[in-house]
Symmetry: C2
Subunit: 415 residues, 2 copies
Amino acid sequence: MASRCSPEAACPAAFRAWRTQPGYSFSAAAGPLPAAVAHEVAEACRPGPGSILSLPFTSSAYRDLQAETEACLRRLLAIPDAFAVLFLAGGASAQFAAVPMNLLVAEGHGAAGAGARRETGAEAPGTAVAAGAAEFASALYIDSGHWSRRAIAEARRFARVAVRELAGVSRAAGALDEDAAHPFAYVHLTPNETADGLQFAQLPPTRAPLVADLSSELLTRPLDWQRLSLAYAGTQKTIGTPGLSLVVIRRTLLGRVRADIPRLMDYGAQAEADSRLCTPPVLPVFVAHRMLHWIEAAGGVAAMAARLHGRHALIAAAMAEGEAAGLYRWMAPAGWRSRVNPCFRLPDEETTARFLDAAEAAGLRDLRGHPARGGVRLSLYNGLSDAAVEALADFLARFARGRVGSGIARCGRGT
Amino acid sequence: MASRCSPEAACPAAFRAWRTQPGYSFSAAAGPLPAAVAHEVAEACRPGPGSILSLPFTSSAYRDLQAETEACLRRLLAIPDAFAVLFLAGGASAQFAAVPMNLLVAEGHGAAGAGARRETGAEAPGTAVAAGAAEFASALYIDSGHWSRRAIAEARRFARVAVRELAGVSRAAGALDEDAAHPFAYVHLTPNETADGLQFAQLPPTRAPLVADLSSELLTRPLDWQRLSLAYAGTQKTIGTPGLSLVVIRRTLLGRVRADIPRLMDYGAQAEADSRLCTPPVLPVFVAHRMLHWIEAAGGVAAMAARLHGRHALIAAAMAEGEAAGLYRWMAPAGWRSRVNPCFRLPDEETTARFLDAAEAAGLRDLRGHPARGGVRLSLYNGLSDAAVEALADFLARFARGRVGSGIARCGRGT
């Protein structure tokens, strides 16, 4: 069988250069996979009637595969039975629309499930609405950076949205939403902002159900299901490969949706159909299956969290000298720095460009910050190897030492 | 590198039995891939920084991969420049909602693109609408079987839908929709009904833009872009693996959508963003890239059509004796039989079960008809091997000969 995976196999031109480049990628868009997981996926793709590439989703083998994947996710995150797990096609951005469409139905707007309950007393003060000028119950969105703003912009197509700036979050003494003029249907949070390098140290308490976009941090730390009512995440960063999103939702929130929701976006209908209302993304589910089991074998989420803590500390230590010299400047304030996606700036564009060029030459790729935010971004997703982290830490320290005293020193500033 | 794909790699329990079963699958849900394509995918998945599993969609390598895939699709189907090609996550069922949401905006319903043009004079007689009691422009759906009914049910969540039964289609002398009381925004057709084994020999002429669900037949025959305005297809049957849908849409239809459409479902926005409004399903795109180039190397769509014609004829010939004896009874009338998914019935449930058991024992799997329709279904998708078709034809002939004169003969009926 091994000969079937020969490197002589043809390869698309676009991919040829990519596949042969040495070093490590720190891309925020896609996490690397551990070699063992990639091995298994490659093996499962091998030709023949048993190739995962052709596994019918209608087969018991696929049903079992999805069930095993769900069971492993439940074990890893201690997901209570009161929550449903959904396997949905596509990226997490689809949930930016699905969340308000599922949770923000107004009276008279044609709720699908008459008997559905709300977890909170916050009943929607909805009225019959004209689409395009909708007056739904409202939701509170925490604006903590680029990706929460993307979620806000999409939610506004479907709902009235109140926005709390990060400064207001920091000042909140109790529940984030307790001083609101009226109760919210839910509170939306992006606990880890990949473009801004900002992360909530813990989930904040809320009165309304808390909804969190965990695309860049699911399985990097434990979750508090007492505080959380709906978690969603694309799988391409910490759980596998693009094409699949996981949604974990408190069952009491299911079954009350807009009448004109696309059926595939109806969480209740998907839960009833075991996420197979239509063909699911079989191969991305397989990759998630292997990645979840790899995490479990590596000690679970606690081990991932401890390793990430250590990696972040190693990076921070390697940056300390350059930080003191004013070369490296963290984007997020202390206490808010993302462990998963540390982001920092250099003194000017020219130095940033030199840093990125030197990193690239050292085989450290995809370190450029998000186009909307600039700077440098390191992504320490679950599948990253120790060797990659060590090479990056070494480079950060070396670049600072090489620069301090030369060109960089001229624009050095105290922190 | 070859050793990295060793068969010793661990494997999920659910998949272990599946992957080792001998023979051939004729599943309608997922098409097999040619061995050469599966080889290439397995090779591209191999561990390392260059694994396709971790290719960031933000990279130029991914952009080029998608562009090459689109270019190959355009060559194979002779898609004119006047059409946009979209790469969307998930199954084709998502388009059941997206089509009316994109094409059936009513006046006052908040069109996103004021300058958008309609290809047809059929302007929507829309009025300002209240969601939940919407009065949109209407569309005509051809009810030719199970999957068109699925499309109709979903469209009714968003639009007024007129339905034409197949008998009415057969009687239509000119354009399908020319005797309508008012012009339709579009006509929707499922040219190949996989559950019913029914296929339109050619696309019918229509006055309004023709929209076709080609999930089970894209790349099995040439397409007439004079007649067709929007084609969509999931890739898992004839183009690759699940998780990706292709949409080919006449550009004049873009840019006029409901204001409350999920942005990812807005064809115009996706076209502007080159289908990268959010993370695309990278690996399914890679599989499509390889499959499309494999088709091109094999002679293109004309070669696929000729091969399918030959395969269908081989199967029909192998069934002829059993058909004459009343054992095999085609589901669709002559002239309407699907080349891709021939469906037939046996005289009773017991004989059907015996047929399926005997086939399974002969290594011919997944021949059971769709649950809604019963009977036997053969799926002759592009990736199926000649050996599989020959084994199936042989079995069909042998089963008929073995049965005629025994138990089957007792319930034989003339056709």
